[in-house]
Amino acid sequence: MMTDALEVLRAEARYGLVDALQLWKRNLLAYRRQPDLLVFSTIQPVMFVLLFAYVFGGAIQTGSIAYIDFLLPGILVQTVLFGSTQTGVGLAEDIRSGMIDRYRALPMARSAVIAGRILADATRNLFVMVLMIGVGFAIGFRFHGSVAGVVAMPLLGVLLGLAFSWISAVIGTSVKRAETAQVASFVWIFPLVFVSSIFVPVDTMPDWLQVVAENSPVTRAVNAMRGLAHGTDAREPLLWTAGWVVGIVTVFAPLAVWRYRTVT
C-alpha cells in the first residue's frame, strides 16, 4: 500500500477534477431524465416558501424587517440541507446496483464518484434556490443590499450544501440501502434545521438551546445570507460559516472517500 500511496496522490491531483466532471455530467443527465423527480423536488421548496409566508407570516414577530425577508434566506438553507441528503441516497443506490464496482475497478480518481455526485447536487441546489428567490420576489421579498450580496447569497447556500453533502456521503457509503440513507439523514438534518434561526429568531428559545442554536453552522449561514440580502454587516457570520464549511469538509471528505474505497 505504501508503494501505491504516491501513485494514488498523483492520480488524484491529475484526474480528480476531470473525473468528477464526468460523473457530474452523468448525474445531471440522470436528473434531467427523471422529470417527475425534478418537478416534485422543486415544487416542495416553493410550497414551503408559500406555506410559511402565509401561515406563519402573521404570527412570528421579526422586528423591523418583513417576515418574508426574514424567512426566505432561512428557507433557502433548509432546502439546501434537504437537498444534500440526496448525495447519500444516490451513493447508496450506486453501491446497491453494483455500479460502484465498475467505478472502483477503473483507473479513475478515488474521490471522483462522490465529488461528481456532490457537484450535481450543488447544481440542483443552485437551480432550486434561484427559482425560490423568484417565487419569493413575486410575494414581496426584496434585496436591500448590494449587487454583490445578491450574487453571494445563493452561492453561500451552495457552499453550505457542499459541506453537508460530504456528511451525507459518509452515511450513504456506510448503509446498505438508499432508503436507510434517506431516513438516517433526517436524524441529523431535523435538529439542525429547527435548532437554528431558520424559522424563528433564536432569542425566543430557552437559554441552553440558544447557545447551541447561535453557534450552529445553519444559524451562522442563515445570518450571513440574511445580512447579504438585507444589506447589513455580514462579516462575522460569513467568517463563521466559512470556518464551518472548511471544518466539515476537512473531517468528512477524507472519511467519505475512505468509506467509498473500502465498501465491500
Binding site: V8, A11, Y15, R26, G98, R104, A105, L106, P107
Partner: protein, 336 residues
C-alpha cells in the same frame, strides 16, 4: 516500481485467503492463467468465486497470500493493475438512466481517452455487440441479455490485458446464454486472457481451456474438462428402466457392478454408476438385470458429465441443482 515482466503469466494467484467474520470465503486459493487462455472458475453458490474476482480486480484486499495481474501486485500496485483489466461483475453494472452509448462513452472518458477516441470506441463496441440499434435508448429499458452485452462491452473499452467475467450468463434465457457464449468464444479466439466464473458445468466445458473447481473457498480440482472427467475413473454406465417400480432393483445391481455409489435420477427413471472397464462389464450387468427381473428401456456407456465429476470430487452435488431462485439474495448467506 517493478515493471511488468512480459514472460510471467498474466494472472498468478498464490495462497489467497479472505474471511468475512467467521465465514472463510477463500482458504488458500492458488491458480495461474496463461496468456491467451480462458480459465473457468467453477463452483456452487458461496464457493468464493466473486470474492476471488473482487480481489483480483483490486476491489477487495485479501487477508493473506498474494496475487499478480498483468505483472502487478493487486494489493500494492492497484493503480497499475486497473488500467490493464476489464471487469464484468455478477450484476451488470450499467447506468440505467444513461443510453447505451453514453454508458460506454463515460467509461472510456474515465479511462481518460480523449473525447473523440471515446466516441469512436463506444461506436465500435456497440456495433460489435449488436447494440447499435438500441444505442440511443436508456439502458434501463434494455433486456437482460442486452444489459449483459453492454456491461461486457464496457469492460472491453480499454482493451484490457485480462478480462474478468463473473457469472456472465446467470439470469439469461437460453437464447441470451448462447449469444453470450458466442461473444466469449469470439473474445477467446481473438487471444484474450479471461477468467470466467460459472455455476454451470456445461458452460465451463464449453468456454474454458482449463477449469478450476472451487468449493468452500478451496481449489478441489483443476485441469482440462477431459482431465477432470477422467478423474472420476472412466465411464458411466446408465440404465433406464421401463417401470419406475424397478428403479431400486436396478440400483442394487449397479451398486454391485460399479466402482461407487450409483446415482438415481428418479425423474428420468435412470440409474448411473462409474465403471472402470465399462465395455467388459456391460454384458454382465445386462445379465444381472435380467436375473433380477428389471425390464430395461435403455442401457449404455457414456463419458461422465461435469456434474458427476463434481459429485465425485466433493461428495455433494453442484449447487446448480438447488440454485437460489432468481431474486433471492445470495450475498451473506451461510453455507452448511
Amino acid at each position: 516500481m517493478q515493471a511488468a515482466r512480459q514472460a510471467d503469466p498474466p494472472v498468478v494467484v498464490r495462497g489467497i485467503r479472505k474471511s468475512f467474520g467467521d465465514v472463510q470465503a477463500l482458504d488458500g486459493v492458488s491458480l495461474t492463467i496463461e496468456a491467451g487462455s480462458v480459465l473457468g472458475l467453477l463452483g456452487p453458490n458461496g464457493a468464493g468465486k466473486t470474492t476471488l474476482v473482487r480481489i483480483l480486480t483490486t476491489l477487495l484486499d485479501p487477508d493473506g497470500g498474494s496475487a499478480a495481474v498483468a505483472g502487478f501486485d493487486v494489493q500494492r500496485q492497484k493503480t497499475q493493475v486497473r488500467p490493464r483489466i476489464g471487469l464484468a461483475g455478477q450484476s451488470a453494472a450499467v447506468d440505467g438512466t444513461l443510453t447505451g452509448r453514453e454508458n460506454l462513452e463515460m467509461v472510456a472518458r474515465l479511462y481518460h481517452m480523449p473525447r473523440r477516441d471515446a466516441a469512436a470506441r463506444a461506436d465500435a463496441l456497440l456495433r460489435r455487440f449488436d447494440l447499435l440499434e438500441a444505442a440511443e435508448r436508456q439502458a434501463g429499458v434494455y433486456s437482460g441479455g442486452m444489459r449483459r452485452r453492454l456491461d461486457l462491452a464496457a469492460s472491453l473499452v480499454a482493451d484490457p490485458q485480462v478480462l474478468f467475467l463473473d457469472e456472465p450468463t446467470t439470469g439469461l434465457d437460453p437464447h441470451g446464454r448462447l449469444e453470450m457464449w458466442a461473444v466469449i468464444r469470439e473474445l477467446a479466439s481473438a487471444g484474450a486472457t479471461v477468467l470466467l466464473t460459472t455455476q454451470y458445468l456445461e458452460e465451463a466445458d464449453q468456454l474454458a481451456d482449463t477449469i478450476v473447481v472451487i468449493d468452500h473457498g478451496k481449489v478441489i480440482a483443476q485441469g482440462t474438462a477431459a482431465e477432470l472427467k477422467s478423474r472420476t475413473g472412466g465411464e458411466f454406465l446408465t440404465v433406464r428402466v421401463s417401470d419406475l417400480a424397478m428403479l431400486d432393483g436396478a440400483r442394487r445391481v449397479l451398486a454391485a457392478a460399479g466402482d461407487g455409489e450409483p446415482v438415481v435420477d428418479a425423474a428420468a427413471g435412470a440409474v448411473s454408476v462409474a465403471v472402470s472397464n465399462g465395455a467388459a462389464r456391460l454384458a454382465g450387468v445386462v445379465r444381472d438385470l435380467d436375473a433380477a427381473a428389471v425390464a430395461i428401456a435403455d442401457v449404455g456407456l457414456r463419458q461422465p458429465t461435469l456434474d458427476e465429476v463434481f459429485l465425485s470430487l466433493t461428495g455433494h452435488r453442484a449447487a446448480s441443482d438447488d440454485a437460489a431462485p432468481p431474486g433471492r439474495p445470495r450475498r451473506g448467506r451461510r453455507r452448511a
